[in-house]
């Protein structure tokens, strides 16, 4: 988490980033992975709004696995979720990086919203979470 109140125009902005590995026994194909990414974006946005976010600044996710990558993002408008990338073959384990920038929520609430969304969306797809380091490598 970061304190962004250094420049006056940054007032009210909070950010949170997290990374983890998600896995399950049955492989996910590209289409299911895209559904996961889309559902996660929706859940991250909803979870932040539920906690009182004034504006969804930008929520981004990067999914990386041996066969390819996906990046997803939303600015919280209805229907604006975008998922792009290279699917590759079915995978049973992937790295997820989530980066949320939210207006009008304390940093702890942005963290809670992100953690809840990842937990619930992972459970929905039968994925188990393992921690990952802060490096993007």
């Amino acid at each position: 988490m970061n304190d962004l109140r250094i420049h006056p125009l940054h007032e009210g902005t909070s950010a949170y980033a997290t990374a983890c590995f998600l896995s399950r026994e049955k492989n996910m194909d590209g289409a299911e992975l895209r559904r996961f990414a889309e559902r996660l974006m929706h859940s991250l946005s909803a979870s932040s709004i539920k906690r009182g976010a004034k504006v969804i600044g930008h929520i981004k996710a990067y999914i990386e696995h041996q066969e390819g990558f996906l990046h997803a993002h939303t600015v919280g408008e209805p229907g604006d979720i975008t998922v792009d990338g290279r699917d590759g073959g079915p995978v049973g384990r992937f790295k997820l990086v989530v980066n949320s920038i939210i207006f009008g929520l304390p940093e702890e609430a942005v963290k809670d919203a992100a953690d809840e969304a990842i937990r619930e969306t992972s459970a929905l797809f039968g994925l188990v979470r393992e921690p990952a380091g802060l490096s993007r490598e």
Partner: protein
């Protein structure tokens, strides 16, 4: 080494434009590197740009217009001593204040090492009413637009012509001196013009 800033509010299409612009400039024989700054401690955009085969350095964990100024200057020096590109395309965070970034580069860079190219500010025309009408965003977005040399009216493919024209008029009032370019990376609208302008403003004849 010239610095081209591609600024603009969160979600305005900066990363997508930078990928297309870098490819366009590279095809013209111009050596390009990208420097990406993100608020989040774990950068995402740099990784996305890297996936398209471009040279990228990223700075995460704060905004270069205030907190991360030292990291940015250090990274620019590394680029100069390493790949030494003709142009560094800088993607600041979506909340960055372009004139604060410019001021910082001018004050911290030793004379002749790094010069400033144009500041391009993207404006998402599909969210014009919210960006210019919602109090939380309006002041920051207006400041970004005022700092622009070039304003790219983005996502022109995703908005009705009348609404697009209205967004353009609002932007023109905020910054009457900027060059305004209609842009859609999706259908290529304005990409050749923008690439040409950046080339003319950054590469010596």
């Amino acid at each position: 080494m010239r610095l081209v800033q591609v600024a603009g509010w969160l979600g305005s299409g900066k990363t997508t434009l930078i990928i297309a612009l870098s490819k366009g400039l590279s095809r013209k024989g111009i050596k390009v590197a990208v420097l990406v700054n993100e608020i989040g401690a774990i950068p995402v955009d740099g990784r996305v740009i890297q996936d398209y085969g471009l040279t990228v350095k990223d700075i995460g964990g704060g905004c270069i217009c205030c907190q991360m100024a030292g990291s940015m200057m250090k990274t620019l020096r590394l680029l100069r001593e390493g790949p030494n590109p003709d142009i560094v395309i800088l993607e600041p965070t979506g909340i960055a204040v372009p004139h604060a970034v410019k001021k910082m580069v001018l004050s911290a860079a030793p004379s002749g090492e790094i010069s400033l190219g144009p500041t391009i500010v993207l404006f998402d025309t599909t969210r014009a009413a919210k960006l210019l009408g919602y109090e939380t965003l309006q002041r920051a977005v207006t400041t970004q637009l005022k700092d622009a040399d070039i304003i790219a009216l983005s996502k022109s493919d995703a908005i009705a012509e009348e609404a697009f024209a209205k967004a353009g008029e609002s932007v023109r009032v905020i910054n009457p001196r900027a060059q305004i370019i209609r842009l859609s990376v999706t259908n290529g609208d304005g990409m050749a013009a923008l690439t040409q302008v950046v080339e003319e403003m950054t590469v010596p004849a």
